[in-house]
Every structure is written in structure tokens, then in C-alpha cells.
Amino acid sequence: MSLHGAIDVVVSDVVAVNDLIKRFHFVRPDGEPLPAFSGGSHIVIEMHDGETLRRTPYSLSSSPFETGDYQVSIRRDDEGRGGSLYMHREVTPGTAMRISHPANLFSLDKRAPKHLMLAGGIGITPFMAQTAQLRDTGGVAELHYGVRSRALGAYLDELSARLGPRLHVYLDERDERMDLDRLLSSQPTGTHLYVCGPTPMIDAVLEAARRHAWPEAHVHHEHFAKSEPGEPFTVELRDSGLSVEVGEEQTLLEAIENAGVDAPYLCRGGACGQCETRVLSHEGALLHRDHWLSDEEHASGEKIMPCVSRCSGTLVLDR
């Protein structure tokens, strides 16, 4: 069960942004505007890849004020479970697809006198929408953007035009690094901090924010856990009376859905908490990969987030 319904769309354009990133444009078949969204929102894209049904979250990177189409920018991940490869190889203009309504787990706090945004690589996508939103609503954004090389830095020109001197770019190829201590100790009262990027970057920023006594209410991060492949295992669904095999390339949530069980979800990235499920018993270890449950909950063995987490043996859920 998608908590936010599904929208039938057609791919109207596919643009190669650079060697690794493609941008996909979705429109309604009837040409009507898509639902309104706010900067930082994501959609879940359904992909029917042969026998496999994948549902993967992607941030919307277009302006919230232009809903004639939705745009997502997807980096090809040759080691992932195949969602980005499917999008890069199979999806072309004219492809009919289904997407969820947008949901926002990374929204701007509009009370902030200044928004400090830190992006790493493809983590730039939510900030594309947010900087467009602030440009049109008059908020102050300062963006620090780390990328491997100038050639792989998506949207540098567009961001430079939008932000001028408030864009700071750090190129790995030139050994440039963000100075987090300087950055986080020099922000005016009321600044809100937003970070999106690879896990080590997010961890480093959150740690630096704690070190510099930033209040929790002022620190926001967007982190979709990758549902990595793993060993196959069996899950028993007590309420549904089913026993389901979870394949190597499948998530627990996908296996439950394929068995015809209507399970709740929203972000499919271990962040939002919607799919939280009670574990009745388990053999082998629970392989937690979410950012939702606390360390205590992880250790208790009583709960699991089926969108990203797995089990090394047989698992029994009350679903």
C-alpha cells in the first residue's frame, strides 16, 4: 500500500547531465500539472524490471513552482541493486511509468534567516529544488557542494547563476575539502543546517554540528539508506499466514509486496518510519540498515524496517 497513492506518468525527456547522471522528466499523459510539492520532496518510482518490481525513492530536483513536469536526476550506480541501471538503460522518452505522490522528509524550516546547505555528489538533488524555492520566495541560501571533478559536478553553472557568491564548490580532483569547523562556528544566530550526500559526509557533518553545539532542531539531513543485496532468507508472515522467500536482489519489503501483502511504506530508505514492523522471532542475526530505530531498538531484536533491513536466517513478522 502506498500511503500517498500512485500517479501514472509518461517520460517526456531524458537528458544526460554528465557521464554518470541522467535527468528524467515525467509528465501526466493528459498534460495536466502534477501535484504541488515543496523543496526537498522525493517520489518513489515503480520499475518493472522483468519479474522484479522495484520501488526506489528519488529527490525531485526541479522547481516546486513548475509542476508541468517532475524532474529527477539519477546517478548510475554500477554496484547497486539495479534501480539506477534500469533507469539509465531501459527508460526513454515515451516510457509509461508509475510514481508516488511527493512526500517531504527534508523540508526547509521557513523561519530560518539563513539556510546553510552542504551537498556531496548526487546529494545535490534536493538542494536544486530548495534553492529554486528560496530564489522565488526570497530566502537566503548558502550552498557548499563537494564533487569529484568539475566534469562530474552536476548543475554547477545553473547553481552559480542562481546563487552567485553564495555557491562554494570543492573539487576532489584538486584536493579541496570543506572546512566544517570554520563553517559551523561562523554562522549567524538562527541558521539552519541541511546536509545530503554520502554516509561518511553526513556522519562527519552531524558530528561537527554536535561539536559546535548546534541545537538538534536546526540540523536536518536527508539520507536514503541503500537497500543493499544480501543472502536470501525466508520470512514468515504470521497474520497473513504466508511464508515468503526473500531473494538476493530483493528487499524484505519488496518480497512482502510481491506476495500480495499490503504493507505500509513512504520513503523506502530507512528514514521515515512508516514500514516499522514487529519481529515475533528470528533465527540468525537481524541486519539493521535504517536510520529510524534507536540503537536500543536495534539491539532489542523486536522491530525491523523491511525497506532496507534483512535477516541472516528465518524471520517471523506479525504482518
Partner: protein
Amino acid sequence: MSTSRIEPSIRSRPVYGTLCPTPATSHLCIADAAGGAAVLELFGKVPAGFAESAEIDYVPGAEDHTEALRALAPARFHVSPTVQALLPRLERHFERMHMGTQVYLAGSETLIGLAMKAGMEAGLDFEAMQTEHRGTLARRVQCVHCKGISEAVTTQPATCAHCGLLLLVRDHYSRRHAAFQGVNINAEDPSDVPPKEEVFP
């Protein structure tokens, strides 16, 4: 130990905690009257070097802890005659401050509310500021009819200092106004005048 006498009520009614030192780049303590004692107790719990990175702004009142606070030797110490006189100073503090300063507010609800309002106007989340209530329970009350604010209200009901209506002082609180809501208590029959009781001493 908090010595607040505030009883649990509706969700809108603010609750306060006990000041507790938090690791931060610098510390801004704002207190009035009995709130000075809360700052003294805070300094009893702080690690070495705290005072050098701390600033205290104090408004003496029914109690005066000025000399004891000055003896804590904070990096800066300033005494204001009234909470209203302190406010422009606070605005300047928040303007020049950086993220990483911990704010501590102690004393009357009026001091805590107005200082918090100044912090919020500078963009700080209200939960980012520590609070501890000490001393008087007197309230700032906004009349819902004329919107005027009456200061230091101690009775229930209370007369609006602006339009003169007799107001039921509610626990319904506005962080934006730093005031409780006052609603006319005898609108149906103005000749029915309930006796005033001193309930916010």
C-alpha cells in the same frame, strides 16, 4: 533543583526545566530577580573555563543577586534596570552571536517569555534555549478583545489595562506575544462582577 511553583495544565501552558551546563562555544545567561539564584546554581555545576566563555545579563527585582553573580567573573556582566530596558540589548546579542552559543533563561515567566521571543525573532528554535522558572508567577496577558497587553497581572479575573474589560486569565499561551490570553469573563451580564483573587503571586 528547580523551585518553580507552576502546576501542570493544558498543553499550551509553558513548562520549564532546570538549567544545566551544555558543551558550547559560548554561553549567554539571562535572568531576573530570583532567576539570579538559578544562574548561581548553574555555575555550581559547570566545568573549568565556563565563566571565561559566559556572559550574564541580569535584571534585579524582588531579589537582588547582583554581587554574587558579578563574583562568578563571567567574560561579561551587565545589569539592566528593567526587563524592557534589557530587550534592545538582547536583540544586539542575538545579532552578533553565532550558532554554537547556548542560551540560558531564568526567572519570571515575563523575562523568560520576552527573552525567548527575542531569540525566536533572531531565528532560534524555542527548544534550543534552556529555561528555569524562579520567583513571581505574575503574567503578561493579552486581551483578546482590544489586543492590548497588561503587564504583571497577579489576579483572577483581571482588568484589562487598555480597554477596561474584566478578563478571565487563561493558561492559553502565545510564544509569539510572550503572553497569556485574557477573555472577557462577564460578557453576558457586565453587572455580574466576580471578586478578584490574588492567584499569580
